[in-house]
Structure formats: structure tokens, C-alpha cells
């Protein structure tokens, strides 16, 4: 009698009652499923912003550095006490320049020279980098000795952190690296307008240093530049040549198959394995120097090649066969067809792939660690055979330092690296948008 009940109830309410086939439940499941998707995407984007904001909030201060504009008397009694500089130029190289700055700062702060503990605090107030700074000044122009020069003196790493508000000053004095006395001086100098934050050009010019305030990316930037040039010069022609062969000439045979499978696998080999290859072949077998950007460039070339080959082959495949047929029909040889017609049309795609490959190579760290790029290099490398570091390797080395000021530098270096990568990738996107042709 179910039918009767069904009819009567329909008659009673005046509209047909639908059988319960679980529509509500199914729609709820549908909504839940959809929500999972949204949550997943939200988590992904949340992580992206967490990562970027962590790096930026830690690192944006690295682009400013606390400096003290200080009138320094280049006292002859300290720099060259026995007046030998005419006969022995080494005197100027080894003179005790920090003392000159310490005295100037003590005078400025009104600290008596006899107050030894206070003088020690004064010494820790500014960076030992003044030694190089003054030495270069004086050696270049010895007539400065005896005069008073106003020079920008870098504050020491801890003072710099404190000045930027990164050290918790409410902690007991014994448990932090900056004393109350130094904080007082800091306030005094800041009120006078002598101590302020300036744009940190040193971050881009200094080499390696154990003191955060004089550590910079100079050597790393040059090393990375060398490596990118080597990768570009080697990987682009070899990659394009290999792709042309595989795409336009190769007959389907064992060798071609082997090369194809190989390239696909090489693209998925862990990057650290390329480091082992570089160590065993380029350094141990061929005898190239460790830490050289040449070796780094070669290793990164091998690593980037599969990426470039895969991108180039896709670009070549996108050129329609009619172009090839037309060229051949007008009497071009196969080589002329490829080099005069197909290659120029595929060029934007090839360039895009190359830029993306280069960006990958620029951010790669692991293989470079193995070929000794973790080196403490102070002077600029003049050739690719000289020891150098790379941008990501410098980040790795700084990440292992404990001081607060190094955390800031590391994040600053990461911002620099990410900016380079962003510029390269945006360039690739613009290139693709402007020149990509669809047939």
C-alpha cells in the first residue's frame, strides 16, 4: 500500500513529495569536498606568505646600517710614533687605527682615557672594520696624518642590532650583549644626530668577514655572475644543438631512444649528485682548483642542460610543419631549413626556457657545497679560476652563524637572491607573452 500513502500525502499537501535519495547528504558531501579544495589552496598560499613575510620582516633592516659620523684626529703619535713612514711603508699598514677611532669616540662621549672599563666598552661600540677603512685612507694619502677628518664609522654588530631595536633591552644587563652604558651612549649620539642608519652599500661590496657589520655579498655576487655566464655560454649552444639533432635529424633508433631516456632521467637526478660528479671529475681527475667559479659553472651547466633541452625541444615542436615544408619546397637544404627558418621562430621559446634554467642554477646550493664553494673569500675573484663563493652558498654560510646581526644579513641576502630570481622569471614571462606565436 505504499503507493496509496504516497498519493494521499501528495494530495494532502498539494505538491509531489520526492523520494529521499540522499540529495541533502550528497550535496553536503559536495560542499565539504569543495571546501577541502579551498582549504588546501588557502594553506598553500598561507605558507607562501608566511615564508615571504618571515624573510622580509627579518631581512629588510639589513639594507640599513648604523653609522656614526665622527671627527677623527689621525694622531701621528699613534699611527707612526717613531716617524718612520718615509723609510718603512709597513708602518702605515700595521698601525693601530682602531685606537685612533676609540680615542675620538671617547672624547665625543666624554669618557676619560684613564677609565679603563669604560674605554673597553667604547672599543666594542664601533666595528673593527675601521682598521681597513682608515688604513686605505691613510696609505692612499699619508698627508692626512695629523689632521682631523670626519669619517663615517660603522657601529659594531651588536650595537647595530640594538639600535634597530632587535635586542630586548628589558633583559638584565648581564644576559645581553649590549651594556646599559652603551645604550646610554647610543641614545646620546642619536639625539645629537651623529648616529643614524644609512643605506648599507657594504652589503653589496664587502667580501667574507667574521664580523656581521663588515660581511657582504661582493664576492658571492661576482662568483654567481661568473657561473651564470659560464652556464649561459656553454649550456645554451650545447642544449640547442642537442635539441635540434634530436628533434629534426635523429632517426628513431636505439641511440636516439637511449639519449631521450637519459635526458629525462638527468632532469630528475638529485642536484647533489652533480656535485659529486664535479668533485670526482673536474677537481680530482682534471685537477681544476677547488672553490673556483669555473668548476661551479661547469657543474651547473651539466645540471641545467636537461632543462634547456626539454624546453628547446618543446619550442621546436611548436613550429608548424608547413614552415619546414615551405622552406624545403623552395629549395633550402635541411640545414638551411632548420637554421634559417625553424630556429628563429623557436627562439622566444628557447630563450624563455634558458632563463628559467638559469634561474634554477642561480638558486642551487647543494652541488656547490661539495666543490668547495664554502670558502672564506675576502678579496674579489679576478678570474673564474680564483676562489669565490656563490649567492646561495653565502646564504648557507651565514645561516650557520649564531649572531642576531647575521640572521638579518642572511635574510637580506635571501631578499637579494629572490629579487634576482623574480626579475629573471618576470623577464621570461614577458618574453613569452610578447613573442610567443600560436599557429
Amino acid at each position: 500500500m505504499t503507493d496509496a500513502t504516497y498519493n494521499s500525502s501528495a494530495a494532502a499537501t498539494g505538491r509531489p513529495v520526492r523520494r529521499d535519495i540522499g540529495i541533502k547528504r550528497r550535496y553536503a558531501a559536495e560542499r565539504r569536498f569543495r571546501l577541502y579544495g579551498i582549504i588546501a589552496i588557502a594553506i598553500g598560499i598561507f605558507f607562501l606568505f608566511a615564508l615571504l613575510s618571515s624573510v622580509i620582516s627579518n631581512g629588510y633592516t639589513a639594507f640599513w646600517q648604523t653609522t656614526i659620523e665622527l671627527p677623527v684626529k689621525l694622531d701621528e703619535k699613534i699611527i707612526d710614533p717613531s716617524n718612520q713612514r718615509a723609510t718603512n711603508p709597513n708602518v702605515l699598514m700595521t698601525a693601530n687605527y682602531p685606537v685612533v677611532v676609540r680615542n675620538a669616540l671617547a672624547e665625543k662621549l666624554g669618557v676619560a682615557a684613564t677609565d679603563r672599563p669604560a674605554m673597553r666598552e667604547v672599543s666594542k661600540f664601533f666595528s673593527d672594520g675601521v682598521r681597513n677603512q682608515l688604513r686605505e685612507m691613510v696609505v692612499a694619502n699619508p698627508s692626512l696624518i695629523g689632521t682631523t677628518q670626519t669619517i663615517p664609522v660603522l657601529a659594531s654588530g651588536d650595537i647595530d642590532s640594538a639600535f634597530k631595536g632587535q635586542i630586548d633591552l628589558s633583559v638584565d644587563q648581564a644576559n645581553r650583549k649590549v651594556s646599559d652604558q652603551q645604550v646610554g651612549w647610543m641614545k646620546k649620539l642619536a639625539d645629537e644626530g651623529v648616529m643614524k642608519e644609512k643605506f648599507n652599500t657594504g652589503l653589496f661590496t664587502y667580501g667574507a668577514s667574521s664580523r656581521p657589520e663588515t660581511a657582504g655579498l661582493g664576492v658571492a655576487l661576482i662568483g654567481s655572475l661568473y657561473m651564470m655566464l659560464i652556464v649561459l655560454v656553454l649550456a645554451l649552444p650545447i642544449g640547442v644543438a642537442a635539441s635540434i639533432y634530436l628533434e629534426e635529424y635523429a632517426k628513431k633508433n636505439r641511440l636516439t631512444d637511449l639519449i631521450e631516456v637519459n635526458i629525462n632521467n638527468l632532469a630528475a637526478v638529485p642536484s647533489i649528485v652533480y656535485g659529486l660528479l664535479g668533485l670526482a671529475v673536474f677537481i680530482n681527475l682534471v685537477g681544476l682548483p677547488r672553490s673556483a667559479s669555473l668548476v661551479g659553472g661547469l657543474v651547473l651547466t651539466l645540471m641545467t642542460l636537461p632543462t634547456i633541452i626539454i624546453a628547446t625541444r618543446a619550442a621546436l615542436r611548436a613550429v608548424p610543419p608547413s614552415i619546414r615544408a615551405a622552406a624545403l619546397g623552395l629549395g633550402a637544404s635541411k640545414t638551411q631549413m632548420v637554421f634559417h627558418h625553424v630556429l628563429p621562430l623557436a627562439a622566444p621559446g628557447i630563450l624563455t626556457g634558458t632563463i628559467i634554467g638559469l634561474a634554477h642554477a642561480l638558486g642551487e646550493t647543494a652541488p656547490l657545497l661539495l666543490i668547495g664553494m664554502v670558502a672564506f673569500v675576502v678579496g674579489y675573484p679576478t678570474t673564474p679560476m680564483d676562489p669565490a663563493t656563490a649567492l646561495p652558498v653565502q646564504i648557507y654560510m651565514w645561516a650557520n652563524e649564531a649572531e642576531r646581526a647575521f640572521v638579518e644579513r642572511t635574510s637580506g641576502a635571501i631578499i637579494v637572491l629572490l629579487l634576482f630570481l623574480a626579475v629573471m622569471n618576470i623577464g621570461a614571462i614577458i618574453l613569452r607573452r610578447r613573442f610567443e606565436r600560436r599557429w
Binding site: P270, V273, L276, L370
Partner: protein
Amino acid sequence: MSVLLVLLIVFGIGLVGFFVGRQRARAKETVGIKVHSRAHYHGWWVFLVTVLPALLFIVLWTAGSSIYLEHSAEASLPPQTATSALASRGLALDMVKSLAAGLERLDPTERQNLPQSYTDLRALLGTKGVALASEGQDYMLPIAERWESQAITARHLGAGIAFALAVAGLIFGLSGIHPRARARNNVERIVLWGLLAASTIAILTTVGIIFSMLFQTIKFFQDVSPWNFFFGTVWDPRFADAGSGGAEGQFGLIPLLAGTLYIALVAMLVAVPIGLFAAIYMAEYATPRVRAIVKPLLEILAGIPTIVYGFFALITVGPFLRDMSAAISGGPAFIMSQSVLTAGLVMGIMLIPFVSSLSDDIITAVPGAMRDGSLGLGATRSETVKRVILPAALPGIVGALLLTASRAIGETMIVVLAAGVAARLNINPFDAMTTITVKIVNQLTGDLEFDSPQTLVAFALGLTLFFLTLAMNIFALYIVRKYREQYE
């Protein structure tokens, strides 16, 4: 004369050949007979016959002469005695080599009256900016001097032969120019060989990877038995002084392998659900506008270098998890700052875009007819996804997940900074563990000696890693390829 200068001169001769050849061919074009090749092909042909033989010779000569020099110097080294100050002949040879390289920087007058003892010479070379080790011996001086003079002779001889070859090629090329000469075909044949050579570099790289690691691994297995390596459960490679030979470490792979797989597992547990759901949403639900914004945003994650993730884990995620666990337990933190969880979580974030874009491609590749059929029969979108699309896309997705997992296993920088260095077996994800890649980096940064098992073990680890990821990749490609055949 440096190799670079010789190369430049050879190229210069080649360029002259190109222009002269082109000019000659042009002059002959006017005669009136039908020419076979355009003039610039003749130019290129002359260039190639000038440069290529000389180039090939220079490469062979440079490699050959340095091997010869090394051998003859090694033969004249006195036999190794127990009292030798230097640990190995290789070290002594290296010192002779750098001594010889230093001698070249001296000017003729200094060469005339060379100091007779190593210490004096070292001081002299020091002023020229050549840094030498202090352990050198006096007997090295004559060997280094002979090395240097032979090197100079070899270089002059080589340069002379190279120039002769280039000039001979130039004359041969120029004399061959006449209207019926098939210059274009010749040039194209060489171009084709060049292209083939470029594409074999891929094979050479693989061969290089395998052999370079295999040789060192075999050397390693002469010191440590493979059984102890593959099945040892203790990792304790004591660093010993060179030559002392006493302390022998234990090189058990198991704790490293366990850490590697554990961290990869945690990473996959994070990345797979998030990446898969994100891919499903973007392929099936998202409007084109949302997709155009969200997809690039997620792909930014794939473009960030891994060292940045490592730093993020070290500075932000690790301390955050530690402080959070301390707040939960109300006492000491039960999550270490460097832990399996930290490394796995951050690696998972890195892998999200790999899972999502690979799965996205595979899901969109499922034929629309299947989707429409299911929807037409009254299934909701989620039912279509679960019962029709995912089963159809499953092989492809499994392949994508395998590729992702192989990336997780080979990942280095995140684990170096976030996983810790303690090699131990445990199942607590809040503790530190270490991975194969971390140990490769540990063993190979710092001073190296290519004959101690402490260094060589890195190559054995690398080979293990290579084959592990290779097997996963090949299996993944096989699955993906098989799947593709079904729908095309």
C-alpha cells in the same frame, strides 16, 4: 705562450681563411659557370678545415703532455720511506707541481741564481704571491725545475704544431675553392656531426656520474665491506688524521636511509593531500579567473630556492614548533628545533606545487566525455571526481607522486639546515634524524683526502641515492607512459 693565446691565434687564422675564402669564391662566381655552393659556404669550409684539426690537436696535446709530465716527475721522486715527512706520493707530487707553476713567475735574472734550498725558494716565491706548503723538501727543487723546462718545451712545440696545422688547413681549404666544389654539403656534414656530439653530452654526463661514483665506491669497499655498509646500523665515521690509519669508523647506511625515508614520508603526508585537493579544485571547480591567480601563486613556491626553505625552517618553523610544544606541555619542549617534523613539514611545503601542477595536468587530460557522462547521469561534481576522474587518472597520479617522492629523497639544503646531524634510529618524529644527503655534505666539506674511507663513503652514499631515485623515476615514467597510451 698560454693555451688561450694559441687558441686566439688559431681562430684568427681561421677568420682570415673565412674572409679570403669567401672573397675567392665570389670572384669565381662571375666566370659564368653554374656554381654549386654560395660563397659564404666556401668561407665557412675554409674556416672549419683551418680551425678544427688545430683545435683537436691542442686538446689532445695539452691533456697528453700534462699526463706525460706527471708520470716522468713521479718516476723521479725518491721512493717512499717510513720516515718521509709527507704522507703520500700524491701529496709530494702536488707540491712539485705547484713549485713548477711558481717557477714560471720568476723573471730571467732570478732564474739564473735560483736559491738551492726549498725554504729560500718558498720565501722568494712568496713575494711573487705564490703560496707554498712549508713541508717541502730540497729534493723537489731539481724535479720541479726539470718539470718546468719540459712544460715550456712542450708548450712551444705544441703551439708550433698547432700553427702549422692551421696554416696547412688554410692552404688546403683555399686551394679547394672552385665553382663545382660541394662546400655546402661539407659544411652541413660537419654541422650535423657537431649536433650529434652535443646530444651525446647527455649520455656522457650519465656515464660520468655513474663511473666517477663507481670508482670511488669500489675503492671504499676495499676498506669497508659492502655488508657492513648496506646493513650496518651504526654510523660513526671517526675522522682520523691522514696516515695514522688507526681509527676505523663504522659506516652503516641503515640509520641514514631510515632518516631519509622518514623525512620524505612526513613531507609526502603534508604535500599529497594539500597538493591533490588544490589540483582537484583548480581543475574542476575554479573559475578561469581564480585559476589564473592561484596557479601562479602556488608555482612561486616551486621557484623559491631550497636554501631559502632551509633558512625558513631553521629560523621560523623550528623555533615555532619548539615553543608551541613547550606551551602545550607546560614544561620542557618535546619537539626539538631540528627535527624530522620540522624538516618534513617544510619539505612538504616545497613539494606542494610539484604535486599540484603534475596532478592538475593529469586531471585535465582525462577526456571530457567521461566527465560529461558522469554529470549527465546525475552525479555531483565531487562524485564525478571520486568515482570517475580519479580512478581514470590514478596511474598518472601515482607516477607524479613517485616523481615527487624521489625529489624528497634527493633534497639536500632543507635537511642540512633543519633535520640535524645525529645519525640514529628512532621513530619519534619530534627528534632529530639525519639523511643520506646531509652526510654527503658533512663528509665532503672541509679538507678532503681522496684515499680515506671518510671521504670515499660520500660517493658510496651518492651512488645509493642515485640508484634509489633512478629506480623511482624510471618506474614513474613507465607508469605515466603506459597511462598516456590508454587515452590517445
